[in-house]
């Protein structure tokens, strides 16, 4: 394959699709921290839906999820795709989103900590939630930049070292995100999200023909039956593990600030009613189907593939002509950049709005400058982390989301006005959940076959309930309707 053709397509597309982000700045200049974080609530349904979708279509959807299904088979697919459909979209996008948007309209709130602060009247709990969400986003950014490195490395046949590709993307993302904040990001997401949708359809159709249609699935079920039933291909996905994995991971995604801030910042409240249906049609309908067909086709054409994260791009590299491979690579890099821009923006926003500003008051212009510089710094940290911690993409993604889910014990009561939960219950729940999560992930891995995120969330909920019971005299005042 002529290596420069796909590389040229990927880079040209990246540069061209970044232009809307710079144009957005021309028409909408953030004047304060709130504008930078929320896009001034000027982003409508269409742009916001595509932006949410594009933020979700990340390195995971292009590489990590496929590797996850390739290893675990159908139980992994059920834990991820059914879990996303039923828990992330089913439980949280609509009913959490509408409440976040209603309160956001009334009080100019954007980040999860804003809501937590308001409800519990405790700035330290808000700072704790801000710190947790910052921690959970760092590995997530690392995934995206690592994914970009993978794609450029394969596309160039190893001629472009990871660092050059990742640095180039870093500069492009930094320019428009620095300037326009959420508004610029949303415009770039629209430009890049479209390509990903079209490519997802194309990849799905190609994989369907490669595996020989439904008969391919049936023949794989006969030759490799472990992929189609619990505990999955590598024997890890028991029913208990599946549940303990899918609940915290799927709860964490909508709570992570890059998604939550979009739900709270959509232009009109009524738009939230359409978001879940759009997410079901586009995200679960298109991208999960494409991934399902890819891992099945992967097992049929390359059984026992050693680097499952690279399965899709390797199949395409071997079988497609350079132009088509370049378009696929451009869509893959687009999926990653549309996630990393949002994550860097959200991470910096949370850090400045929820941590720094709560510790010390700044002039609005200074705060705006700080959040922009913080965005550059967290993006750079994400890049550096890849060199010291290059894990399987999905392992990092699930861990990141599980950390985010711990904040549910503080955030959900604040959105649903559950006054039983006290600030002490929520704080100790988050802290103990995090300690248990770290212990069961790094020291005593998955005791009793339960995923670390499951242990963390279970601990957080139990501690939150017990401590809240003991500290009822500190329960929050009722929220105005």
């Amino acid at each position: 394959m002529e290596w420069w053709i796909p590389v040229a397509i990927i880079l040209t597309y990246q540069v061209l699709s970044s232009i809307p982000g710079i144009l957005a700045y021309k028409w909408f200049k953030p004047r304060e921290l709130y504008d930078y974080m929320s896009g001034g609530k000027t982003i409508g349904l269409f742009a916001m839906a595509l932006s949410i979708g594009a933020t979700q279509w990340s390195a995971l959807s292009f590489m990590g999820f496929i590797a996850f299904y390739y290893l675990h088979g159908v139980p992994g697919w059920n834990a991820m795709s059914l879990g996303y459909l039923l828990i992330s979209v089913g439980c949280l996008y609509g009913i959490m989103g509408i409440r976040a948007r209603e309160l956001a309209e009334k009080y100019k709130y954007v980040t999860p900590s804003d809501f937590v602060n308001h409800f519990y009247k405790d700035r330290y709990l808000g700072i704790l939630v801000g710190v947790m969400l910052t921690i959970c986003l760092l590995p997530y950014m690392q995934i995206q930049l690592g994914g970009v490195g993978y794609i450029l490395e394969v596309a160039s046949g190893g001629r472009i070292p990871f660092i050059y590709g990742a640095l180039l993307l870093y500069i492009l993302i930094a320019i428009y995100t620095f300037l326009g904040g959420l508004k610029s990001i949303a415009w770039v997401d629209v430009a890049q999200g479209f390509l990903f949708l079209i490519v997802a359809l194309g990849v799905g159709a190609y994989m369907w023909s490669l595996m020989g249609g439904i008969s391919g699935i049936n023949s794989l079920a006969i030759t490799k039956p472990s992929l189609f039933t619990i505990p999955g291909g590598i024997g890890a996905m028991t029913a208990l593990y599946m549940l303990s994995w899918t609940i915290p991971v799927q709860m964490g995604w909508p709570i992570q600030p890059q998604i939550f801030m979009r739900l709270a910042s959509i232009k009109r409240k009524e738009h939230i009613y359409y978001i879940p249906a759009l997410m079901i049609v586009a995200v679960t309908g298109l991208y999960f189907m494409q991934q399902y067909l890819t891992w099945i086709a992967g097992w049929i054409v390359t059984p026992g593939f050693k680097e499952p994260d690279k399965l899709l791009i390797t199949i395409a590299y071997k079988n497609w002509d350079p132009i088509l491979f370049g378009i696929l690579g451009a869509a893959g890099v687009a999926a990653m950049t549309t996630s990393v821009n949002s994550q860097a923006h959200a991470c910096a926003s949370v850090f400045v709005n929820d941590v720094l500003v709560k510790i010390r008051k700044f002039d609005e212009k200074i705060a705006l400058l700080i959040v922009r510089v913080a965005m550059l710094v967290v993006l750079f940290i994400g890049l550096c982390l890849w060199f010291v911690w290059p894990w399987l993409l999905m392992t990092l993604g699930a861990l990141s989301s599980s950390i985010g889910s711990l904040c549910a014990v503080a955030l959900l009561p604040s959105l649903f006005n559950i006054r039983f939960v006290t600030r002490y219950g929520a704080s100790l729940g988050i802290i103990s959940g995090f300690i248990v999560l770290v212990y069961t992930e790094f020291i005593n891995k998955y005791p009793y076959g339960i995923y670390s995120g499951g242990w963390g969330l279970l601990t957080a909920v139990i501690v939150c309930i017990i401590v809240s019971l003991l500290t009822q005299k500190y329960k929050p005042a009722p929220l105005e309707k």
Binding site: V74, L82, C91, A221, I230, L240
Partner: protein, 75 residues
């Protein structure tokens, strides 16, 4: 609990019952696992497709009820 909370709570209760009773463990084990063991991997597809349309319909009903409530309040 106002009308808005009631609509959301009804949505959530039905959803949790369907989710854990049919599509995810423990309920899913009774429906999906035996079918796959019998050599019918198609069940994986049907469960996903059922979940997909169930979610679309359920969320549409929720959205319509919430919008009707808003109109009633507004009117």
């Amino acid at each position: 609990m106002d009308e808005r909370d009631k609509i959301d709570l009804q949505f959530l209760v039905i959803h949790l019952i369907v989710m854990f009773g049919v599509f995810l463990p423990p309920g899913a084990l009774f429906f999906i696992q035996p079918t796959i063991v019998m050599g019918l991997p198609i069940a994986v597809w049907t469960s996903w497709i059922f979940a997909y349309f169930y979610m679309l319909i359920h969320y549409t009903i929720w959205g319509l009820r919430r919008m009707r409530l808003e109109k009633k309040k507004g009117g």
